[in-house]
C-alpha cells in the first residue's frame, strides 16, 4: 500500500546542510495502523511531509499503491501537530471540514454535506459545527482537524504528533478515538509520535527511529489484544515489556557512535 524506499532528506541553503533523514525503508500494508516513534528533532515531521508529497526527498522514493508520490495525493490526508494553525480561524468548523471536499468536483452538494455531518458525528462534534475553531478547546480543535481528514475519505491517514499539545486526559480520549475510527473505517494510518507509551498503546506495529542522522532503528509487532483499554492495556505486563523494548532501542540508537558528517 505505502512503500517508503531509501528515503533521504538533506536540507540545504544558508551555507549549512542538515541531514534530517539518512536512509529510511519501510512498508505499510492496507488497513494497518503503524506508529513511528523517535526523539524530537529526529526528522519525523520531515518524513511525514515527504510521504505526504509536501516535500521532495533528496533521494529515495515513496510509493502509494505502487505509483510514486511526487505531490499531494487525494488518497492521503494529513493531521498536523499545530491544530490551531492548520484550521482556518476565519471559517466555521463545518466550513473547515467542507473546504477540501469542494475541491473534489465529482462530489455533489448533498454527498458533501453528508460527509461533513458524518465526520463531525464520528468525532463527537455535531453540536459545534457552527462554532469557530478558536471558540473550542485544544482537544476539540484537533478533533475538527481529524474530522476534516475523515471527510476527505483518504486511504492513508498521516498524523504528525497530533496530541502532543493537549493535556493527558484529553489525549487518552483522542487516542481511543483514533483506534475507534481506524477500526470503523479501515484506513491505513501512519501515526507519528515522540511518546513511546502512546506508540505502543495505539499501534499494531511500532517503528523506532534513531536520533539524527535518522534510520529505522527497530521494528516491533505489538502483541497486545486487538481491543485496547486505557487502564487495562497499560497495566498489562506485555505493555510494560513492549515499551521497555522500544525505550531500550531508542537509548541504543542514542549511544551509537556518531558517523562523521
Amino acid at each position: 500500500m505505502l512503500d517508503v524506499r531509501g528515503l533521504r532528506k538533506i536540507y540545504g541553503g544558508h551555507g549549512r546542510e542538515v541531514e534530517a533523514l539518512r536512509d529510511l525503508t519501510f512498508t505499510l500494508d492496507p488497513g494497518e495502523l503503524v506508529c513511528l516513534v523517535g526523539p524530537s528533532g529526529c526528522g519525523k515531521t520531515t518524513l511525514l511531509k515527504c510521504v505526504a508529497g509536501l516535500l521532495a526527498p533528496t533521494s529515495g522514493e515513496v510509493l502509494l499503491d505502487g505509483s510514486p508520490v511526487t505531490g499531494p495525493r487525494p488518497g492521503m490526508a494529513v493531521v498536523f501537530q499545530e491544530y490551531s494553525r492548520s484550521l482556518f480561524p476565519w471559517m466555521r468548523v463545518r466550513d473547515n471540514v467542507e473546504l477540501p471536499l469542494r475541491q473534489k468536483k465529482s462530489l455533489g452538494r448533498q454527498r458533501r454535506h453528508a460527509l461533513v455531518e458524518d465526520a463531525l458525528e464520528a468525532v463527537g462534534l455535531t453540536a459545534s459545527a457552527g462554532a469557530y475553531p478558536w471558540q473550542l478547546s485544544g482537544g476539540m480543535q484537533q478533533r475538527v482537524a481529524i474530522a476534516r481528514a475523515l471527510a476527505y475519505e483518504p486511504e492513508v491517514l498521516l498524523m504528525d504528533e497530533p496530541f502532543a499539545a493537549v493535556d493527558a486526559q484529553t489525549r487518552a480520549g483522542l487516542e481511543d478515538l483514533v483506534r475507534k475510527l481506524w477500526q470503523e473505517r479501515g484506513m491505513t494510518i501512519l501515526f507519528v509520535t515522540h511518546d513511546i507509551d502512546e506508540a505502543v498503546y495505539l499501534g499494531q506495529r511500532v517503528l523506532t527511529l534513531s536520533a539524527s542522522p535518522t534510520v529505522v532503528q527497530d521494528e516491533l509487532k505489538i502483541t497486545l489484544p486487538h481491543e485496547r483499554d486505557q487502564l487495562e492495556s497499560r497495566a498489562d505486563a506485555r505493555f510494560a515489556e513492549l515499551r521497555t523494548h522500544v525505550y531500550a532501542q531508542i537509548r541504543a540508537a542514542g549511544t551509537r557512535p556518531a558517523p562523521t558528517a
Binding site: G53, L54, P72, M76, F80, E82, F88, W90, P100, Q103
Partner: protein, 264 residues
C-alpha cells in the same frame, strides 16, 4: 501588525472630553484677554456662530459633497487597484522581484509634488483631486497587501497543499483572509491620507470642495468661517477614522487582535 482597536473606558472618555473642553475654553479666553489678536484667532463662540451659518448654507453642503466625492472615489480606485496589484505582485515571485525597486522609488514621492502634473492633465476639475488622492492612497494599500500576502503561515500553507486546494481556492480561502488584517490597516491609513490629499488638492489647485472654500474664506478675511471649516475638516477626519476602525473590527472578528475583546 494590526493594533487592537482601543476600547475606550468611560474614565478615559471623560478625560478626553475634559481635554477638548479645555481647548475650546482656551481658544475662547486667549483672544478675549488680548494675548492673541482676534484677527488671527477668533474666540470659540465666534467660530461656533460662523459654523452655524455655514451649516445653513447650501454652498457649504455642496462643497462638503464635492470633497467627499473626491475622497470616496479616489479611495475606492486606490483600494481596488492596490488590492489587485498587491495580490498579483505578491503571489508571483517574478513580478515581486521585478517591481520591488520601482515601488521603493515611486512610493516616497509626495503626492503634492504631482500638483503641477495634475493641473496640466486635468485643470482644476475633479480629475486633479482624484489623481493626488489615488496616488497617495494606492501605496498605502499596496504595501500592506504585499506584507499580508507574505504572512501565510507555513502550516496553513501545507494544509492547503495537502488537501489539493486549487489556485482560486487558495487565493480566496487562504491568501485573502491572511492578508485581510493588513488590507484593513492599509485601507484605514489610505482613508486618512485620501482626505488630507483631497483637501490639499482643493486648497492648492482650487478644485471645488471644502479646501477651496477654506481658501476663499481666507482671502476674503472671513477668519471665523475659515476656522469653522477647518474644524469641519478635522471632524471629518475623525469620523472617517472611526468608521474605518469599526469596519476593521467587524471584518476581522476572527482575528486574535479582535476576538479577545467583548463582542459588540
Amino acid at each position: 501588525m494590526t493594533p487592537p482597536p482601543s476600547a475606550t473606558r468611560p474614565g478615559a472618555a471623560a478625560l478626553g472630553l475634559a481635554g477638548l473642553l479645555g481647548l475650546l475654553l482656551t481658544v475662547e479666553v486667549l483672544p478675549r484677554s488680548g494675548v492673541v489678536s482676534a484677527d488671527y484667532l477668533p474666540p470659540t463662540s465666534r467660530i461656533v456662530r460662523a459654523l452655524a451659518v455655514e451649516l445653513n448654507d447650501r454652498a457649504f453642503w455642496r462643497a462638503l459633497g464635492d470633497t467627499l466625492t473626491g475622497w470616496a472615489l479616489g479611495l475606492a480606485i486606490a483600494v481596488v487597484a492596490g488590492v489587485v496589484a498587491g495580490v498579483l505582485i505578491g503571489s508571483v515571485p517574478f513580478l515581486r522581484a521585478a517591481t520591488a525597486s520601482t515601488i521603493e522609488f515611486l512610493r516616497p514621492i509626495p503626492s503634492v509634488a504631482l500638483i503641477p502634473l495634475a493641473v496640466l492633465l486635468f485643470g482644476t476639475g475633479l480629475g486633479s483631486t482624484l489623481l493626488l488622492v489615488v496616488y497617495a492612497a494606492f501605496w498605502q494599500v499596496l504595501v500592506q497587501v504585499l506584507y499580508g500576502i507574505q504572512d501565510v503561515d507555513p502550516v496553513t500553507r501545507d494544509t492547503a497543499r495537502s488537501y489539493n486546494l486549487g489556485t482560486w481556492a487558495r487565493v480566496r480561502h487562504v491568501l485573502w483572509p491572511t492578508a485581510l488584517p493588513y488590507v484593513m490597516t492599509g485601507v484605514r491609513l489610505a482613508a486618512s491620507v485620501a482626505l488630507i490629499l483631497a483637501i490639499t488638492a482643493e486648497l492648492v489647485i482650487g478644485s471645488p470642495g471644502l479646501g477651496s472654500r477654506i481658501a476663499v474664506a481666507q482671502t476674503s478675511q472671513a477668519v471665523p468661517e475659515m476656522y469653522a471649516l477647518i474644524m469641519i475638516a478635522g471632524l471629518l477626519g475623525l469620523l472617517i477614522n472611526l468608521a474605518a476602525r469599526t469596519v476593521e473590527r467587524r471584518a476581522l472578528f476572527w482575528h486574535q487582535s479582535v476576538r479577545g475583546e467583548a463582542v459588540l
